[in-house]
Point group: C2
Chain length 223, copies 2
DNA sequence: CCCATTAAATGAACATCGTTCATAAAATCG
DNA sequence: CGATTTTATGAACGATGTTCATTTAATGGG
């Protein structure tokens, strides 16, 4: 455990600033989620990790939803950074999509945090702006570019949601779920699923993601 | 309110079966979600609506997650029904995708319910089986067909998640959120988003959905 | 038909959660 | 330094998911 771990009867650390800083609170919340999962993130636990009373948090975050929105916004930091030169628009889209996926993947339950909120902070806005910008350069109308950007983001969120759900299962109950699925897969009833089982139960999420994204990009090229 | 509404001090309705039936419980849970939203679905409220004590529910559902999985499974009933004859494979995919979207849209917070669980029930399985089957008929390998089916489902889930989030906002706080977004959209900082605002704030989710799905289908055709 | 055994529902409790608020402490500044 | 404003405290409230010993209803064999 880190030095800021919740120790019993911890008197306030001496050198630490007394005032509760919002960015530190958000960072600590993300650390707690990484350690114990989103379901274990509690206003009380966050307060304890910050060496503060629960009520104090509500001076800085009106509600837990507000906290989660700030976390989602923080997760996207850097996602809209400048793109390397000399990339084709295909590569630019792949790069941007990969960044968002990685940003969600970087924190445990990151996709759940992101999907459960609706942030309008600068990180979220500039990411969408950058993505729409790249798409507009492919001779797409503003409307088509926007709709395409939404499509890409929705795919990423849906995909990462499932990827992290699988990761959460993997902690203990993956074999049971896998066995349950295999047992339910009667080739007579589900002939196509039987042929698909290897791919369905695969953990090659990188490959799955690339396949889906390339599908969208290819559809874009045919316009 | 329906005749099964929670009335104060309701003695057990006379003609109703004493035993708690699982399908009735699932249906009632979905009705409660439709009425008050997923956040208001409580084991206690469900028990009250079923004229039963809380503990009784735990004899039929090991946990609330189990309940939610049963609800997700129930939502997909009929989604894998036979397709009309004479449809091109493009139309078959559009039909199947539209069915899943409608199934999630039919219940309030349906996408959240579905995304938060991992059902392996017959409705979910046969839907995926049907979708993979259609894709395999387009000369796709089992692996490519499976990955494409996953892509389509992930897009639908991500899209509907956002569509229903907008619906939830619309109940009271839509104007505030919209104004907040508009204020944050400085054309100097986010030139592309400024051009995209009309599309971003549009409520034409049917159009957005069709655009995204057609993109995927077009990418499939270019294979 | 009655009684023993199994299945099901009850009612109360436990720990924990998000949230609120009157009070106290600390920081700020004229 | 003293007054005012900002911030943190500590305790509480109602509600939630879950558990369990007890009671009640259904079931089946003699």
């Amino acid at each position: 455990m880190g030095p800021t771990s919740t120790s019993p009867s911890a008197q306030r650390s001496r050198g630490r600033p007394r005032k509760l800083a919002v960015p530190e609170a958000v960072a600590t919340a993300l650390r707690l989620v990484d350690e114990d999962g989103l379901d274990s993130l509690t206003m009380r636990r966050l307060a304890a990790a910050l060496d503060v009373q629960v009520g104090t948090l509500y001076r800085h975050f009106a509600t837990k939803q507000t906290l989660l929105a700030a976390m989602a916004e923080e997760m996207l930091a850097g996602c809209a950074g400048p793109l390397p030169d000399g990339l084709t628009w295909r590569e630019q889209i792949t790069e941007l999509a990969g960044r968002l996926r990685m940003a969600l993947l970087r924190h445990r339950d990151g996709a759940r945090v992101y999907a459960g909120t609706h942030s309008v902070g600068p990180n979220t806005l500039s990411y969408t702006d950058t993505l729409v910008g790249v798409l507009r350069e492919t001779c797409l109308s503003p409307e088509a570019a926007t709709r395409t950007a939404l499509t890409i983001v929705h795919f990423i969120v849906g995909h990462t949601l499932e990827e992290q759900a699988a990761q959460a299962l993997a902690e203990s109950e993956l074999p049971a779920t896998l066995a349950l699925l295999h047992a339910a897969l009667d080739p007579g009833t589900y002939p196509n699923l039987a042929a698909a089982e290897a791919t369905l139960t695969s953990t090659d999420f990188v490959g799955h993601f690339a396949h889906g994204l390339n599908l969208i990009i290819k559809g874009l090229a045919g316009e």
